[in-house]
């Protein structure tokens, strides 16, 4: 058992097979996992209610809607979601998370069985940390931990309120460098992944 705190990943996929697979992959990588089968259930779990926008994070108060498993104390360190889902797509879910003041710092990773460059760039531009091609491998999950660590460091070093500008000015050299690299030319961001993808295929 690792001495440091475990990371909790929320996995979203409408396919029961893929949910089982991602759960096993994540558990094998020593993450705590919760799986849900839709974007709306994911938002519920995260404490974001679409209608009234009540956000419950880190407050031990009881949610008015009182879902049994809507635990405010449960911290989610990363959301990994399938892109193609009926109703709310993974992209829609990503947008909702990034538009929410309480959830926007949660790293989001998109999975898709289809290698569509425009889809990939759209997700990355919307703030997804990674775009993984299915079937997802254990090695793909190694990319996840850095994103979760980044958030933990940030949470400890900063007050609650922060906006994008502040993030970029942080004196956290490693994180800053990675962010700067990521926000470089978008084709740069896409090409390495596509190379990885073609190698896999």
């Amino acid at each position: 058992m690792a001495a440091d705190s475990e990371f909790h990943v929320l996995a979203v996929d409408d396919s029961i097979i893929d949910r089982k697979l991602i759960e096993r992959l994540l558990k094998t990588s020593s993450f705590q996992v919760t799986t849900v089968d839709s974007g709306s259930k994911a938002l519920e779990f995260l404490g974001l209610h679409e209608d009234d926008g009540i956000i419950n994070t880190n407050t031990p108060s009881v949610s008015p809607n009182n879902h049994q498993w809507c635990l405010q104390e449960v911290e989610v360190n990363l959301v990994i979601t399938d892109y193609c889902m009926p109703g709310m797509t993974g992209y829609d879910l990503l947008k909702k998370i990034k538009e929410s003041s309480s959830l926007k710092n949660i790293p989001v990773v998109i999975m898709s069985s289809e290698n569509v460059p425009s889809r990939i760039s759209r997700c990355l531009e919307e703030g997804a940390e990674e775009f993984l091609l299915k079937p997802v491998r254990l090695s793909d999950l190694n990319k996840l931990r850095p994103h979760m660590l980044k958030t933990k460091i940030k949470d400890h070093q900063e007050p609650e309120k922060q906006d994008k500008e502040e993030k970029q000015q942080q004196p956290q050299s490693n994180n800053n460098n990675r962010k700067a690299m990521e926000e470089g030319i978008s084709t740069e961001k896409i090409r390495p992944r596509l190379n990885g993808i073609t190698a896999m295929v």
């Binding site: 396919s15 029961i16 097979i17 893929d18 089982k20 697979l21 096993r24 992959l25 558990k27 094998t28 193609c84 069985s113 299915k134 079937p135 491998r137 254990l138």
Partner: protein, 153 residues
């Protein structure tokens, strides 16, 4: 001891043939690697879910293609897309490849082509199911005889 070795050799040969025939691809091997003491029945569980899912989707496709008043190709395609995803996740390569062709016929709204693909899907699925059940039986025999299942790279 000899029985165990014989069974293990049988298992390796059978497994190798399934890969050689393209029935299974590397993704299946990845699933086997994820199976351990914490999740000893993982592969069988995933396979069972897949068989159930596949049957359901095949029925959906069949029903949609039978519609005399007009086939909803989008609906057929949605099922094929799901099947393609699941078969890819489990490493069922031949099923997946039929799905790829199937999707083109859906896009072209070609009912005959779709029906042919559906037949192929049914054929490949039955083949896969039989072969996997044989493989799982072999595994069980090895374990019962006190041996361990060989890891195939």
């Amino acid at each position: 001891m000899d029985v165990v070795n014989q069974l293990r050799r049988q298992f390796v040969d059978y497994s190798t043939s399934l890969h050689r025939e393209g029935i299974l691809d590397d993704q299946f091997t990845q699933l086997q690697k994820l199976q351990d003491e914490n999740s000893p029945d993982f592969v069988v569980e995933v396979a069972s879910l897949f068989f159930e899912d596949c049957e359901k989707l095949i029925n959906n496709m069949g029903r949609a293609l039978e519609q005399q008043q007009g086939v909803d190709f989008k609906q057929v395609d949605a099922s094929v897309h799901q099947l393609k995803g699941s078969s890819s996740s489990i490493g069922a390569m031949r099923v997946k490849n039929v799905c790829i062709t199937f999707r083109s016929f859906c896009e072209a709204q070609n009912r005959e082509g779709c029906l042919r693909c559906l037949q192929q899907v049914i054929h490949e699925f039955s083949l896969l199911k039989n072969k996997l059940q044989t493989l799982f039986r072999l595994e069980q025999q090895i374990l019962t005889a006190g041996g361990s299942i060989p890891v195939i790279e």
